[in-house]
């Protein structure tokens, strides 16, 4: 009798674990929202929620990019510095050289993609962990941004450029719309295309993916390029929102993206992640930030909370990985 029940109980446990893994972010988000609705009367208002969505939209677009890189088993810590650099260059193009905004935006997107490609090529050529590569290129990009800015805030952007970051279509802020479009496209590519499946495959097991005929090196470069492209979109929106070219725009955004991705179940080791989870992760951070602002806590608290949340998220990710590894070993050894 006991022997019969045991496997059932074990599989129940396993399913409960999978359930927790899949829906934990959503549960956390729901409870946070409920909590703050009760605590603060200003939280659950259309105006506040719209503002919060706009706030998170910028980081979310970058986060979709970093998600490609992370699922493929790498990481990009240079996102913030890429934005610093592209942001300043774009501002200068429009304010000093009066380049048509459309052309300037195109140039920025191209430049971001290029910066991402450089990260990818270096990772492939040097065969060093992308963490260190992007730590190095990040410093370089940031330095270039500072040099180009030459210690000045760049003002005098064309009024027509304002609409992207500050405009609305109906009741919805434009950055939120763009975020939705980027997330949908990202979701489509990851789940419905060969390319997306290759990204998962190389993150799950690069050697197996290689043997199955996936060109790992090319894929690595492309995923980094996608990440650069996404961050360039963020850069365009941020410049339009801030409406002057400043070297502080975008700095440290990689931290939010990384935390959001990990919170939403994108694995740090690669091979796992969904856009739905990512959005949940972004919203958790957004809600926390928003609630702390409403409560009038200084920014510094946010760092403490964000750092702790990141640690918990990675810790949970590692815990799940190890637990599953143990189960697999147990299953294989009992069934021969």
């Amino acid at each position: 009798m006991v022997a019969k029940i045991q496997p059932v109980v074990r599989s129940l446990y396993r399913n409960a674990g999978d359930f927790a893994r899949r829906y934990a972010p959503l549960l956390i988000l729901t409870s946070l929202v409920l909590l703050f609705t009760f605590i603060s009367p200003n939280f659950m208002t259309v105006k506040n929620l719209t503002l919060m969505l706009r706030q998170v939209s910028f980081a979310t677009i970058s986060a979709v990019g970093i998600m490609f890189v992370m699922i493929s088993g790498a990481i990009d810590l240079s996102i913030g510095s890429q934005i610093v650099f592209t942001n300043i260059v774009m501002a200068i193009l429009m304010a000093r050289y009066h380049v048509n905004p459309v052309l300037a935006i195109l140039f920025c997107l191209f430049m971001g993609t290029f910066l991402g490609t450089v990260n990818g090529v270096l990772s492939v050529k040097l065969q060093i962990h992308p963490l260190i590569i992007t730590l190095g290129t990040g410093t370089i990009y940031k330095g270039l941004g500072y040099i180009v800015a030459n210690g000045k805030n760049i003002i005098g952007l064309p009024e027509s450029f304002k609409v992207l970051g500050q405009g609305y279509i109906g009741p919805v802020p434009i950055p939120v719309l763009i975020m939705a479009v980027v997330a949908l496209i990202g979701n489509f590519v990851l789940t419905r295309t060969y390319f997306g499946r290759y990204v998962f495959a190389m993150g799950g097991n690069p050697e197996a993916a290689r043997l199955a005929g996936v060109d790992i090196n090319r894929m690595r470069i492309i995923t980094f390029a996608i990440c650069g492209f996404a961050s360039a979109i963020t850069s365009v929106l941020l410049l339009s929102r801030v409406f002057s070219g400043q070297v502080f725009t975008g700095q440290g955004i990689e931290f939010d993206c990384l935390t959001a991705a990990l919170l939403g179940g994108v694995s740090f080791i690669g091979g796992e992640g969904t856009i739905f989870g990512l959005i949940t992760g972004v919203l958790i951070i957004g809600v926390l930030n928003n609630a702390m602002q409403l409560a009038g806590l200084p920014d510094f608290y946010q760092n403490v909370v964000k750092g702790t949340v990141l640690l918990v998220a990675v810790g949970f990710d590692m815990y799940q990985k190890r637990r599953r590894a143990k189960e697999t070993i147990a299953r294989v050894s009992t069934h021969g």
Binding site: L122, L131, T139, V304, T308, L310, V314
Partner: protein, 320 residues
Amino acid sequence: MPKVDISGLRKYTVLFILLGLMVFFSFTSPYFLTVRNLTNIVIQNTYFIIVAVGLSFVMIGGGIDLSVGYQMSLVGVITAMAMVVYHLPVWLAVLIGLLLGTGLGFINGVIVSSIRIFPLIATLATSAVFQGISYLVSKANTFRAYPEQFLLLTRGKVLGIPFDILLALVVVVLASVVYSETTFGRRLMALGGNEEAARLLGIHTKRMKVAMYTICGFLTALATMVMISKANTTNSSFGPGTEFIALTAAIVGGVSFMGGEGSVPALVAGVFVLAVIGNGMQLAGWGTYAQFIVRGLILLGAVAFDEYQRNLQRNRQKGC
């Protein structure tokens, strides 16, 4: 054509680079090769040396610590407040600072070894936490005018040599002895070289990891004392960025990013390579931000060289 074997020269590469840079900068500026400027370079970099030595313990053990910058920020602010705001005796304030730093390192060690998170991410996260706490505690205030005794740390002299130079020297010598003469040092190299093998050899890997991060925390706190004593002022923005310089210096100095390798003299030379570049570029009037770029390039170059060496070794082992 056989590949050139430069592994024997490896030990001295950093020294050659250092000498080459000094020759180069003595041409770009007449002020570079003066006793005064060279003394300045040494004096300005004592705390970088101490931090880099601390970081080398972690790196040789196969880990990494990106939080040293904000450890310094937090330790500096607390020590300064203990002296300036709460008027504690200098020895007590310094003791608090050192204990705090050691504690922060210990926390990193425990997180890395027991939750087993990739150390880069773990210390990135703790550094955000340390940063937040540092600003919360200091309320973004700047503290200045330390007691005379505390300033002696960098202004006092023994036989004409400033205290902090002697301190850095002691740290360097002690670390060399630990690496080359003690069981702990050898176990650390073993841990960094091959963790699984080290574990099978009976090395308590968890305890070793906690120990190396704790040592790093202690030395970082020591360096903080030198840094804020030298500046005679501090706020929460003092310290961040040091981690990047120390990391680059360590890698330039031949401490392998993958662990298991490193020598203290080369590490010190690595610190001076970065220092000379910074100083030389400033004298040549190339601005601070260009240094960001050069440092990034140097980091990438050094890591690439490290990797190249490893491949050579691997190929040779295969050949046998």
